[in-house]
């Protein structure tokens, strides 16, 4: 390692109205290393990186590049200083080709005309050098997620980035794609580049980093080298107390089949088949986890069960009642509780208050009506009970829900859905984007619900979650179930292969 760090951020402070996003944060990076920035959502990681990339300006503090104090006032300036950023949400123009995306914003060797052939040539060359093969003439929307990520990395390499910020780059990748990405990243550090890795997937952080800095509520609360760090030590640093990463699961005798899906086929938003004749059964008192990279039909599956999407063929029954293509209200009456993937869009009404959102599925129930009008006293009592029971942190019952944190919104949805003792619970991405503390609580509630004989279908992209909670794991790929495995016996690699479309026999061989 060189003596002078390629990057030093000293005493960075950034205030937004009502929030101290970064509070005197120090961070540094040497050439040839991976330094991870770890923290919960809202801990200030993204803000710090946006300051480095010139998207925000710090209120206090300074940035030194190779020992020289430097002002970075815009992304253009950052690029000029050889800083590259792989954003969490791909910054790609879907309707342009790979070469056009790479060339965007750069001067052309032909002046006003584009020089895409020269750009393509260099893309192919960078691709073979770093294991990032890609067709420069492909239009981006045609690419798979893993390929899109390659384009993002090539964009940075093409601009000769020496310092690369990777903001949750593995969020949408299969385990095999993650391995491939890590190979590329290792090659980049071997070439003397410095990488800042942002993630909350602890095993990836441990696998990739040299050093780890932990942020909490805008402040640096922990620093460690990767040697000697463990997943639970990192989790504790992030949350500030001991954390249980996997809940204790008591043995539960499974009962009869509560949710039965047979031969289900569904057409997606683009008119293509997104679910292709699948069969699934979830029994009382068990958690069936559905693993898979998002976009393989999981969302549509949940929506079809909930009555929000038409089934083309096949049937869905809940506790013996056929609910195929029934109205959502009838599916709920048959015993379904539903935690949707799109929490803000489908799970709540943001402008409604906590109490109103808790009432959403019960507003026609006699319990809350008085001569046809809402009985506010009963509603308040009911809401207060649920808020207390599920530890939803809210200033009052009259607070608009959208001002709560993601974790509290999710707890609120769970409180509403579980208030009626459901036969079947469909939970999509139950802890995505939720802080560790809330995730820990949500996991505990799911396990508790399982003990109360609810059949739980849990759809998740987070393999730790799938392995930690499920009694059985079904893997979904392109609308089909590739197989169902026992999480105690199968490995992450095997499930990862199935997530990439490898058949169960081959994956387990």
């Amino acid at each position: 390692m060189a003596d002078v760090p390629m990057l030093e951020m000293k005493g960075i402070t950034k205030r937004f109205p009502g929030v101290l996003a970064n509070d005197k944060v120090d961070f540094d990076l040497f050439a040839g290393e991976v330094h991870t920035l770890l923290g919960e959502n809202g801990a200030g990681k993204s803000t710090l990186m946006k300051i480095l990339y010139g998207l925000y300006q710090a209120d206090e503090g300074e940035i030194l590049l190779n020992g020289t104090p430097t002002l970075i006032t815009s992304p253009t300036a950052a690029i000029e200083h050889n800083i590259g950023m792989i954003h969490q949400h791909f910054m790609l123009v879907e309707t342009l080709t790979v070469a056009e995306n790479v060339a965007l914003g750069l001067p052309s060797s032909r002046g006003a005309l584009t020089d895409l052939d020269a750009v393509s040539e260099k893309i192919v060359q960078l691709g073979s050098q770093y294991g990032l093969e890609i067709d420069p003439e492909a239009t981006v929307w045609q690419l798979a997620v893993g390929q899109k990520q390659r384009v993002e990395i090539i964009k940075a390499l093409y601009r000769e980035a020496q310092l690369l910020i990777l903001d949750e780059p593995t969020a949408v990748l299969t385990p095999q794609e993650v391995d491939q990405l890590f190979d590329t990243l290792h090659q980049m550090t071997a070439d003397g580049r410095g990488l800042i890795f942002i993630s909350h997937k602890l095993h990836e952080v441990l696998a990739l980093s040299d050093r780890i800095t932990v942020l909490r509520q805008g402040r640096v609360t922990g620093y460690t080298t990767t040697e000697g760090a463990t997943r639970s030590s990192l989790a504790s640093m992030m949350v500030g107390r001991e954390v249980k990463l996997a809940p204790d699961k008591p043995d539960v005798e499974t009962g009869s089949a509560a949710l039965e899906i047979s031969g289900l086929s569904v057409i997606g938003d683009r008119g293509n088949v997104v679910i292709d004749g699948i069969d699934l059964t979830v029994n009382e008192g068990e958690i069936l986890g559905i693993a898979g990279v998002s976009g393989n039909g999981q969302r549509e599956l949940a929506e079809t069960i909930a009555g929000l999407r038409q089934a083309e063929s096949g049937s869905i029954t809940i506790a013996g009642t056929d609910v195929t293509n029934q109205r959502p209200v009838d599916v709920r009456a048959a015993g379904l509780a539903y935690v949707p993937e799109g929490r803000m869009k489908d799970g709540i009404i943001g402008l409604f208050t906590v109490a109103e959102n808790l009432l959403l599925i019960d507003h026609n129930s006699k319990e809350f009506l008085d001569a046809g009008l809402l009985n506010f006293e009963a509603i308040r009592t009911h809401s207060q009970d649920l808020v207390d029971e599920f530890a939803v942190k809210t200033p009052s019952l009259d607070t608009p829900v959208r001002s709560l944190s993601g974790g509290n919104i999710q707890k609120l949805i769970l409180a509403r859905e579980l208030s009626g003792t459901p036969t079947v619970l469909v939970a999509s991405q139950p802890t995505r984007g939720v802080d560790i503390g809330a995730a820990e609580y949500i996991h505990k509630r799911l396990v508790q619900q399982r003990s109360e004989d609810t059949a739980i279908l849990m759809i998740s992209e987070d393999l730790d979650e799938v392995f930690g909670l499920s009694d059985r794991v079904a893997v979904m790929y392109e609308g089909e179930i590739m197989g169902i495995v026992d999480p105690k016996k199968a490995t992450r690699e095997q499930v990862g292969l199935m997530m990439a479309g490898v058949s169960q026999e081959q994956a387990l061989a």
């Binding site: 990339y53 123009v93 584009t114 964009k155």
Partner: protein, 310 residues
């Protein structure tokens, strides 16, 4: 009906279709630039009206049709810049702010006309240019190669627009900004600069379209465009945001319009039906729009103002 299938009438119908398509083609080509970059300018018709009046008035005073066309272009640039300020820098709701520009153009052009002219006086029109050799071809010569310079220029603008959009870095920036402004911004492309440019191009073309219309007709009156600016916006959708498609739409509209005019002149359509027949071009265009436009996707960022960090 047999009156229709004579050489003179058929040539006049096709030539008329091309002539009538020109203001729409110009306005829609300009609007294509704006929309490809993500800005919907509903004020096109207002800009056309002011372009038409300024073109008419300049020709009336100077007797020179080219000064008239330049005046229309000049007004188009000014109103294009104003539209940019409103929708790009001030981030106005595009579905509404453009209607303001339209109403301004509608009222202002009439006010100026009443104040400065009063009763309509005909002005000189664009001279026809017969292209040597080609215009002598039987049938086709009369249809395609005996038009004013403005007609030729308008159709030459189609390949020019295609070239700019598809082959230049500016065009690539336009497409990127209209599809994913955050991505373009993160690579150092100035979203607002690109959009100022495209909206101003749109205004310039609309101004030229208005002047071309007034000088082609040789007259000005209140609401001369008769909502052609709005048809032009529809044609951009119809043409799936591509210059060739836009041209096809403008020609279709021009053709139906020309056909209705001929049918009325020949008495094929009874006089009492003429009001209904006058709606035909709009109805046919809308139907075609519904059928064609569903297959293509609009630029993702269309009508969405951009600010960094949201």
């Amino acid at each position: 009906m047999s009156d229709f299938f004579t050489e003179a009438v058929l040539i006049a119908t096709v030539a008329g279709a091309i002539r009538l398509a020109v203001p729409l083609l110009l306005a829609a080509l300009g609007e294509t630039f704006g929309q490809r970059s993500g800005v919907l300018n509903l004020g096109v018709d207002g800009i056309m009206l002011l372009g038409a009046f300024s073109g008419y008035y300049t020709v009336l005073k100077t007797g020179n049709v080219w000064y008239g066309l330049l005046a229309g272009i000049g007004i188009g640039v000014i109103l294009g810049l104003a539209s940019s300020l409103i929708s790009v820098t001030l981030l106005a709701e595009q579905g509404i702010s453009g209607i303001g520009v339209y109403l301004f153009g509608l009222g202002m052009s009439d006010l100026l006309f009443q104040r400065l002219v009063g009763t309509p006086v005909p002005i000189s029109k664009f001279p026809k240019i017969d292209i040597p050799g080609l215009s002598d071809i039987p049938w086709l010569g009369g249809m395609f190669f005996s038009h004013s310079v403005v007609v030729y220029l308008a159709f030459l603008a189609v390949p020019a627009a295609m070239f700019v959009i598809n082959r230049t870095t500016f065009g690539m920036n336009i497409r990127a900004v209209g599809e994913n402004p955050e991505a373009a911004d993160s690579l150092g492309v100035s979203v607002s600069r690109v959009r100022w440019a495209t909206v101003t191009i749109g205004g310039t073309f609309a101004g030229a379209a208005g002047a071309a219309l007034a000088i082609d007709l040789g007259i000005f009156q209140q609401n001369l465009t008769n909502a052609q600016g709005f048809i032009a916006i529809a044609l951009v959708y119809f043409g799936a945001w591509r210059p060739l498609g836009v041209m096809a739409g403008a020609l279709l509209y021009g053709f139906v319009n020309s056909l209705v005019l001929q049918f009325k002149t020949l008495g094929i359509i009874p006089q009492s039906w003429s009001d209904i027949a006058a709606m035909a071009p709009a109805i046919i265009t809308i139907l075609a729009l519904v059928i064609v436009a569903r297959r293509f996707r609009a630029p993702s960022a269309l009508t969405k103002p951009f600010t960094r960090g949201t």
